[in-house]
């Protein structure tokens, strides 16, 4: 039964490929093809759901070996990346649960997205996401999990920016995408370290070998994986991205941020349970981060006035509790908490649009009284986390980018020469041909007319002409000297030299000022550190 596992991520992937290519080549487009797209996505996810349930059933009956290797993907020296899957325990249970929820949400979206402009795009991304998420959960090694992790992140980005005609949606999507890249750094570092220390990138091997690792190594490795978990599951300091993600269509909010994707972080921690148990410091870190996030989300959630924001802060609060549970060692509780929360939040998000039907009587006083004003203000402002990030990270980076672009424009380009503007570039072969012929003609005519028509001042000067190497060298030297003489001596020292001098002084001042800015100091410190290690 283990072999079934390979079909689970594969079927939605095929579906997404069909929808994606169909849409790309305009085989699937418009309202008339909606049924086809919906059928493909619906059948794929249903099949995938049945297979996950079958796998779960097999696992419960003890028919699974717990591990399935589908073959070698790539190998280099001692590094072998297998295409392998975990087919037992928590992974399978979670895969079954997620695929059921995904099937429900696909079903929901078929009605919900009817006649939307991005109908086919939506189902393409949703199917791709289903595939990525199931790969993430079932994969037996870091690399495949990472592929799933990244693809899910990409799908999230694409669906937040679903309405890409709205600037705010696009800005939020990009910001979230960038925020999540911080987690990737940790993930990749973790992958590298585990290869270096454990000689393997299989989750099972890492867990088994964690007892052999020193506490320091185990802690570093655990912390490396804690960072992507924090980023994906929106733990502090990453929490604000989750609230920005509410731009996409309701079913995608439900599946990404309510039900499935945000739980990937908790899943990763639970997966690495033996490793974390050997790293008390890492346990403490996730417990503290979880506790802080839960408190933060509770306080901020109190002042949210729209349904999706309320739900999202409730979600991050619950995720915080799961991290706390993991950190305190209640692994079973965290796993159950995850499953229960997934189901409930998916339902809540799907019913969010019909909130007004479900709220029979408006309770005017739902906010607790007697909270200090500063907490209220902090809660309204979401503890200023966004402005703080802007100030501490984005502004200096933007400044750096600005300076670099200035450097490019004014220094590099003036040395290297600017590329020709696109408008003059050759855009077709015919144009190229024409230009070649035209250029020749022009040249020919130019040479014919040259002696009489060429203006004298066009070339720097040709009072000296030589041939041969020595002759040419003399010619160039003469030309340079002539230019110098012309500019500085003949035109008078009083004019150009002073202007140049001033300009130089000004540039030196700017340079001095820029160098003393904190971002450069930080940059220099970083460079020094990098060089030192």
């Amino acid at each position: 039964m283990d072999a079934l596992v390979i079909c689970i991520p594969l079927i939605p992937l095929i579906a997404s490929a069909i929808i994606g290519f169909g849409h790309l080549f305009e085989v699937l487009s418009g309202e008339t093809c909606e049924n086809i797209t919906a059928d493909i996505a619906g059948w794929a996810i249903s099949m995938c759901c049945l297979l996950s349930l079958a796998l779960l059933g097999a696992d419960l009956m003890g028919k699974n070996t717990g591990f399935y290797n589908a073959g070698l993907w790539l190998s280099s020296d001692t590094l072998d990346i297998q295409l392998n899957f975990i087919t037992t325990g928590f992974n399978v249970r979670l895969a079954a649960l997620f695929s059921v929820l995904l099937a429900i949400i696909v079903r929901f979206s078929i009605n919900y997205m009817h006649r939307e402009t991005g109908y086919h795009r939506f189902f393409f991304i949703l199917s791709l996401f289903a595939s990525a998420m199931l790969l993430l959960i079932l994969s037996g090694n870091i690399v495949c999990t990472f592929i799933g992790w990244e693809t899910a992140g990409l799908c999230s980005y694409l669906l937040i920016a679903y309405a890409y005609n709205r600037p705010i949606a696009v800005v939020n999507a990009t910001r979230i995408f960038v925020t999540n890249r911080i987690g990737d750094a940790g993930f990749l570092l973790g992958a590298g370290l585990s290869y270096a220390w454990v000689d393997s990138i299989n989750w099972n091997t890492i867990n088994a070998a964690s007892a052999r690792l020193s506490v320091g190594e185990a802690t570093s490795l655990a912390l490396c994986f804690a960072i992507p978990a924090f980023a994906k599951s929106a733990q502090l300091p990453f929490t604000p991205w989750l609230a920005k993600a509410m731009e996409g269509p309701t079913p995608s909010s439900s599946v990404f941020y309510g039900a499935v994707m945000v739980h990937a972080g908790v899943y990763l921690i639970i997966l690495l349970r033996p490793l974390f148990e050997h790293a008390p410091l890492a346990m403490a870190v996730i417990a503290i981060a979880g506790l802080l996030t839960a408190s933060y989300s509770y306080v901020v959630g109190l002042t949210q006035t729209d349904v999706k924001s309320s739900l999202i802060f409730a979600t991050s609060g619950q995720l915080g509790l799961m991290f706390l549970e993991c950190g305190l060692g209640f692994w079973q509780l965290a796993a159950w908490h995850l499953c229960a929360h997934t189901v409930m939040r998916a339902y809540q998000f799907l019913t969010a649009p019909s909130l007004m039907h479900n709220v029979r009587s408006l309770s005017a006083e739902t906010r607790p009284r007697n909270i200090p004003t500063w907490i209220y203000v902090a809660s309204l402002q979401r503890f200023w986390l966004d402005p703080i990030t802007d100030w501490a990270l984005i502004k200096p980076l933007q400044g750096l980018a600005h300076d670099l672009s200035y450097f490019d424009d004014h220094i590099v380009d003036s040395f290297m020469g600017t590329p020709a503007p696109a408008i003059q570039a050759i855009s077709s072969l015919a144009q190229l041909e024409e230009q070649l012929i035209g250029a020749k003609l022009e040249k020919a005519s130019a040479s014919v007319r040259a002696p009489s028509l060429r203006p004298v001042g066009n070339k720097p000067d040709n009072f000296a002409q030589g041939s041969g190497l020595a002759g040419k060298l003399t010619e160039w030297t003469a030309a340079i000297l002539h230019w110098f003489e012309d500019r500085f001596v003949l035109r008078g020292i009083g004019k150009d030299a002073i202007i140049y001098g001033r300009r130089l002084g000004h540039i030196a001042n700017i340079f001095e000022k820029s160098v003393l800015r904190p971002r450069y100091l930080v940059l220099f410190v970083l460079i020094t550190l990098l060089v030192a290690f």
Binding site: N111, R166, E247, G248, D306, K308, L350, P353
Partner: protein
């Protein structure tokens, strides 16, 4: 209220006689799922029970036919369903919370007819006309009509213009697609995590609407309408401003006059409207009028039969 004997006595004194075997029942028709909720059925005298059952049976038929007629404009509804299937679909649709278009609402509304019901009897209007009962023979000075128009003009125009503007510029006057909407503060919607509150109708509600101004047809003399027009500032604003179109159908001659905005008092406001006489298609029943059609249907006539019991359709 009118069931109470003391009220009936007072009514008789005021010259209104309600037959003793008449019983009023309050009810509410949910236009989304076709459900009819009845009020105070426990007070219904037993002798009226059989009559009530007949009424319910007929209304059941009406519900099914209404559902059937609505199904043709809904893309995910079954094509050419039986009345039972249609009603089942409409009910399911109303309860399905993934359904972003639970009902058609007032989409495709085009006209409001204020007049005797005999005026529109036997005509199929494809759900496009508001019908308001009014008998001009009972109202020589137009007092009742004035009250009706004061209600119909702003309400009808409000509904119609909301659809009109949401259709012509959905992004600005409507509220765009429902898909990214986020209920805010229990009173409005915004898009995503932060936007202005959106007003107007969502794209999903106006997809099948054809923007046009409401044509109010009143069965009354133009002179009566002119008097009301002169008296009522609010009606003048709507009609003269061109927000609605007003026309009158003379209760005696049947001639139609269309109000054309001009300086009032020159008697040029109501222009005689004459179109070539055209025979409307006649169908056996309303189902035939829209058979196999999913686009708007032009008015048609339905053959009138003198029947004691409702027509029998299909498998009913």
């Amino acid at each position: 209220m009118a069931n109470r004997p003391e009220v009936r006595t007072l009514l008789v004194n005021a010259g209104i006689t309600i037959p003793a075997d008449t019983w009023f029942i309050g009810a509410e028709h949910n236009t989304c799922n076709e459900e009819i909720s009845w009020y105070d059925l426990d007070q219904l005298p037993t002798e009226h029970l059989s009559g009530f059952n007949t009424l319910q049976h007929e209304l059941r038929h009406t519900q099914m036919m209404s559902a059937h007629e609505r199904c043709r404009r809904l893309a995910s509804a079954p094509r050419n369903p039986t009345p039972q299937q249609a009603l089942a679909h409409i009910k399911e649709r109303a309860a399905d919370f993934s359904q972003i278009r639970p009902e058609l609402g007032h989409a495709t509304n085009a006209s409001a007819v204020v007049g005797r019901r005999s005026l529109t009897q036997g005509a199929f209007f494809d759900r496009r006309v508001f019908l308001i009962s009014y008998d001009p023979t009972q109202d020589p000075d137009g007092k009742i009509l004035e009250g009706i128009l004061l209600a119909v003009t702003p309400v009808g125009a409000g509904i119609n213009l909301e659809y009109y503007f949401s259709t012509v510029n959905n992004e600005r006057f409507g509220c765009g697609s429902k898909v990214p909407h986020n209920v805010t503060g229990f009173f409005g919607v915004m898009e995503g995590a932060g936007s202005d509150l959106r007003t107007g109708l969502p794209q999903q509600m106006v997809e099948i609407h054809e923007p046009m101004r409401l044509l109010i047809v009143v069965e009354a003399k133009t002179s009566v309408l002119e008097q009301i027009y002169a008296r009522q500032e609010s009606i003048r604003e709507m009609v003269a401003g061109g927000w609605v179109q007003l026309s009158s159908k003379d209760p005696e001659t049947g001639e139609i006059f269309l109000f054309q905005s001009g300086s009032f008092g020159t008697n040029q406001d109501f222009v005689h409207w004459q179109a070539e006489v055209k025979d409307l298609p006649v169908h056996k029943n309303s189902k035939d009028c829209y058979k196999n059609k999913i686009l708007p249907v032009a008015p048609a006539l339905i053959k009138q039969q003198l029947l004691d019991k409702p027509e029998q359709f299909g498998a009913l």
